[in-house]
Amino acid sequence: MNLLAVSINHRTAPVELREALHLTEEEIRQIIQLAKDELLQEGFIISTCNRTEIYGIPKEFQLPYSRLHSFILGHKKPVNASEENFQNFLSRESLKHLFGVASGIDSMLIGDNQILKQVKDSFLIAEEMGFAGFMMKRVFDAAIRVGKRAISETAISEGAVTVSYAAVQLIEKIFSNLSKKTALVIGAGETGEIAAKHLRDKNIRKLTITNRTKERADKLAAKLNADSFPFDELNQHLNKFDIIISATSSENILISKEDVESAIKKRNYNSMVLMDIAIPRDIDPSTSKIDYVFYNDIDSLNIIVEQNLSKRKAEIPKVEKIIEEELDNFFAWYNSLQAAPTIKSLRDHFESIRAEEVEKNINKFSSEDKEKLEIITKRIVNKILHHPTIELRKTNDAGTGAEEAATKMGIIRNLFGIDKPGSNNEDKK
């Protein structure tokens, strides 16, 4: 199988280079158009913040990787990239790499399941552009299957691996139902926004945002269907919240131990969770000594992140096993595309249709005509299949490219639904 893949990713290139080579959807469409014209019969392009990869079946049998490298580099502003920044793959290795990407084991954040959606989106673009042919559709299906199996059969995507999500995971070890809880996010910057989104995703009953610049708090609050209040009223409101996440860039402590002591008293000692994900810290760490107050800073949350990452790493062998299984399945199918099995399947398929119809209608014929019916219908089927059989046999002849042969056989199998469950041929099996 002549599937080529070249990849620039977080293992091979620094962030500046990855950023420089990141492709927008519009750019991907432009490049696909050019690739179709110049280099590849079919393929697709994946571009995320951590990788830019091109997969495809070349028009020329021996297309050098360097052509693909310069093809990628040529469509972006000049960057300092060398051959070492590229990983090159062929055939089974290309597929193995793609499966690794789809399953998240090749991600910078191991088990990141966003990548599966990105792979899907990349394929949809290729399909829209008419760049994903018969073979790529099978490749794509297999990659998505690997991604889904990795998520459902292993713990590769389990546990929080970002500080803000670890904060939510920890909160869920204290409270059973966030839809009955109230939360305050202090700071409307990027970190605060991510934390607020996580809480919103967990159906927090009431979400409130406060920020030194009130407009930013209002803007984020409007975005997340939350409330806001002026920053200087922070202490008056502390007791109203079960969860407080602080993520400001303040140089000073914003919430003192006395503030929290007063708040917990007003709350009749109902538990309060304080997550300080700011550097430097916003909440006095000695609040952790107060009963019913659960205080965590970025260091303690990082412990959870590290633990979860280790657990995910331990799952890699299980995912690799799934990848090997799916590779074997894929190549079993690919090898079945050889001419002889396809001819046999095609003939079996038609024969089963013929036999079924004859059986249904046999009673409508007199006993002397029944034999004739068998002979005539068989002759019709043979005549119909004569030309396709000759054409398929030709694909075994020298000079016909393996990809062309595979495409032809794939089209036939697809057209007549030979591999589909419930097809006459399949039923017979």
């Binding site: 869920e172 070890k173 204290i174 059973s176 952790s288 009963d291 412990i303």
Partner: protein, 274 residues
């Protein structure tokens, strides 16, 4: 029949230990390898235990409540049965090893020392007494389970306060769930103990006309009942929650254990039948 009873007597600790091992393995490894098998084992253990208790009742012509080791085997059954129901209702399976180990210990001691007692005092053959003891034991198993959840609550509470994110953090349900499990077990225990006390009050004067109400067992039980009652009321009326309630549950359990030890082994009580 006796050989079958003896066989089941020795089989039961093995079954409890096996069930405990399956629960413990899943707890330690965090895998769900035995997730359904362990529940099936728990069910089978309970079933065999029930057969054992019934066989004893028929063979020895009295319910197995006539000596401390019979009480222990009934207690092991009651604790496991209560946990089994709780697990079915809540589908929380991570806390099993902490409760099944208690049943194992009770059953193990019972297996070693339980006598084949045919002759018992006439007073112990009374039906009301049977209901009294069974409800009391079920009540105490409720308190035992409540105490286990309270203990787990305190352990997780401390781990969270000290940023320890180990096995307890990863495997146990959250604090609010542990608190609820502890509270509801205590409520069930309290209701059953109340029934046991009422039956006891009805039956007591006819069985022991010269009974003293200052009996250590009665005082101990009264104290336990008051303590749990106060805890439940404080939750319902003044909304006491969290650690305070948890500490109360553990205190109640400790007093219940002390009261049993004092009345059964140390002090002279009308409850000491053996």
């Amino acid at each position: 029949m006796i050989p079958v009873i003896h066989f089941l007597n020795y089989l039961l600790p093995v079954l409890y230990l096996t069930t405990f091992s399956a629960y413990f393995y899943d707890f330690m490894k965090g895998e769900k390898k035995f997730i359904n098998i362990k529940r099936l084992f728990l069910f089978l253990t309970l079933l065999i235990h029930l057969v054992y208790l019934l066989l004893r009742t028929f063979e020895f012509h009295h319910p197995p409540i006539t000596n401390v080791f019979e009480i222990f085997t009934v207690l092991a059954f009651a604790i496991t049965f209560s946990y089994f129901l709780l697990e079915l209702i809540t589908d929380i399976r991570g806390t099993g090893p902490f409760i099944i180990i208690i049943s194992f210990v009770f059953q193990f001691i019972s297996t070693l020392f339980i006598p084949d007692q045919l002759a018992v005092k006439e007073v112990l053959r009374n039906n009301l007494l049977g209901i009294h003891v069974i409800t009391a034991l079920l009540g105490y198993s409720g308190f035992t389970i409540s105490a286990v959840y309270s203990f787990l609550y305190l352990t997780l509470y401390k781990d969270l306060k000290h940023n320890r994110f180990g096995l307890i953090f990863n495997r146990l349900p959250n604090l609010e769930v542990l608190e609820k499990l502890s509270f509801y077990s205590a409520v069930i225990g309290f209701v059953l103990l109340t029934i046991a006390i009422i039956i006891g009050i009805i039956w007591l004067p006819s069985a022991f006309p010269d009974i003293s109400y200052l009996d250590p067992k009665l005082i101990g039980t009264g104290l336990v009942w008051l303590l749990y009652g106060a805890g439940i009321l404080s939750n319902l009326i003044v909304h006491w929650k969290g650690k305070k309630l948890i500490v109360l549950s553990i205190t109640g359990f400790v007093i219940a254990i002390l009261s049993t030890i004092i009345s059964n082994f140390l002090a002279q009580s009308f409850h000491s039948f053996y």
